[in-house]
Symmetry: C2
Subunit: 146 residues, 2 copies
């Protein structure tokens, strides 16, 4: 968990003005264990009693992603764009096909692969995105998985 002032600094460092809405959105993303859609961020703000417009949320999330403070995510089966806090650490997702819960995987099985792919395809590789799909233990127990 980060301190509030850290969010301010993060914004400043990116050349963004520090506004209460932006800092609040960044904090919501950081505190969430799940990537969130604009609408979800919006209602969390409402719950906290912070008046904000949905367009502002969209615009803010977009700019946070642009500045690399957040990561934009499009997962199969979700028709909305999700955003997560950028921990600045390479990570992947394990998504439950039943309950849609997203688990973060911190170690990456692809070290070295990018280099060999670059050689093979002549592309310059910028990064990759790996999502694994399956059924979480809870949903498995309910007999819906498999």
């Amino acid at each position: 968990m980060k301190e509030k002032k850290e969010f301010r600094d993060d914004l400043k460092l990116c050349g963004l003005k520090n506004t209460k809405r932006r800092a609040a959105i960044l904090e919501i993303l950081e505190k969430s264990d799940q990537p969130l859609a604009a609408e979800q961020v919006f209602s969390e703000l409402q719950n906290k009693g912070m008046p904000i417009n949905l367009s502002t949320v969209y615009r803010t999330l977009e700019i946070l992603a642009e500045k690399n403070l957040a990561i934009k995510l499009n997962i199969t089966g979700e028709n909305r764009t999700l955003f997560e806090y950028n921990e600045q650490v390479h990570r992947h997702h394990l998504i439950c096909l039943e309950c849609k819960k997203i688990l973060t995987i911190k170690n990456c099985p692809l070290n070295g692969y990018e280099k060999s792919l670059a050689k093979e395809t002549n592309y310059s590789i910028a990064g990759h995105k790996l999502d694994v799909y399956g059924y979480c233990p809870e949903c498995n127990q309910k007999g819906k998985g498999q």
Copy 2:
């Protein structure tokens, strides 16, 4: 490239009626080297002089994906859902961040990883999705990459 009759058979085997629109959509997906959005499939049909309604395209793509004749794709940066023909072979994508071209990668660097992840997380793993992002040789030359 598949024969037209093969598309008919594929549909029948899935318990779907063989209609000219469905077979045409399946053929368009199969012929395309890129995953396509509903809108794109729609205009290809128009160009071919086949009258069709956009809702039909959406419905058809959805049902094709459900029957595993097509694969549904949500890639970062594309706000529309894309569909590609299901070659029934495991594959990944290499996406150019500049021109958005999608290259299919047929060998998978993740053999074995799913098993170890299953053990580690207690999930049952159904599959995974790996997208690699980078710049294609052409865009690199234009000096926009890197």
